[in-house]
Subunit: 150 residues, 3 copies
């Protein structure tokens, strides 16, 4: 159940633009990776975006808030059933399919991205936290910027 | 788990056009509100539709059955993970993201609406019932009528 | 919870093209049926596709692997909350809404199918297995082949 709550919080915090709180779902050493499915299937390690620790992720949020120009929009994440696989070292692998719908400021929605999450999480101070987030995007042909997180 | 079942019933009863049974998920004093996200974010209280008690909601169903002309279609709700927050007074706030897909009678489907539910529920005769349903629609530019409930 | 896991496995095994493992979710006498919603509502028993036992389903997978020509693509299933209804004979009826998104090899995604599952399952050697899968498709106008399973 903790894993489901983590996923639900993940979606809610992005979708309501509370990205600073979203950051707190990650450990300090967290890696955040967006990889096209095509590359995963061919064993090519090339990502669309990588942050190899939380400071880099924090920096992305700051850039988004202060510097980036991008198509303003609303995000809406739908996350499917969460699969949890415990590891011997006390960490967990959790996975789920997702679809993200984006809506323009004129109120028109479209499917923006479909794919899945393959995350590694561990318990930090009684809370489940992400230390390795891997977003595998089916939709790697992205017509606009990948501005807000997937 | 009761909250998840309520959401699942909510989706199933609309999607299978059992709207009279769907009504029974609400308390007599229930409010049903559809608000564009744009308005929510700007603190504007303007709704696309409001029913301020169950009698009004019942009236809408009757109108739909007998009077309204609208594009006939099938609805399909996908509802994401349900977040439950208990209140001190024994009621609950439950929330979830949703996407509604509409299909024409020719069998063509499209995304009709994306958004989220922010509901207030309480236990009535051992059943969880909605007394305040708030549908926040990202997709406030609606190309056809908002005929069947979201 | 077992029913949710079964649905999650169902989605994951199709989406990751592990169709031989997906087959193992079915009993030997399993029926697999894809029916347009239009037909269901009119009480017409006509299916788009039927496999009336697992051997036929296995044959379909073999054909898909070796013979069929179809638009290569990635599948992504989003499955909504799972409803479980136990029967007197120890079997279960489980149902859920679904949306399937397909992505071309160029990385463009679209809604491919929306509908619901109405499945009958039973416990075989401690595992929940499907003996009657009924896919009711809202989207019965299918622009490309129905190649990979829904």
């Amino acid at each position: 159940m903790l894993a489901c709550e983590l996923m639900a919080d993940y979606a809610e915090l992005i979708d309501s633009d509370r990205l600073e709180e979203w950051l707190e779902l990650f450990t300090e050493d967290a890696r955040y990776d967006v990889i096209p499915r095509e590359n995963v299937e061919q064993g090519l390690p090339l990502s669309i975006m990588v942050c190899s620790n939380k400071a880099q992720l924090r920096d992305r949020i700051t850039a988004l808030r202060q510097a980036n120009e991008y198509n303003l929009h609303y995000d809406r994440h739908l996350i499917g059933s969460v699969r949890v696989r415990p590891s011997a070292d006390g960490t967990f692998e959790i996975g789920a399919n997702y679809a993200v719908f984006q809506t323009t400021l004129e109120g028109q929605s479209r499917l923006f991205s479909a794919g899945c999450y393959k995350d590694r999480v561990r318990i930090v101070d009684g809370q489940l936290r992400i230390y390795d987030k891997c977003v595998i995007v089916d939709t790697f042909s992205i017509p606009t910027l990948l501005a807000t997180p997937l």
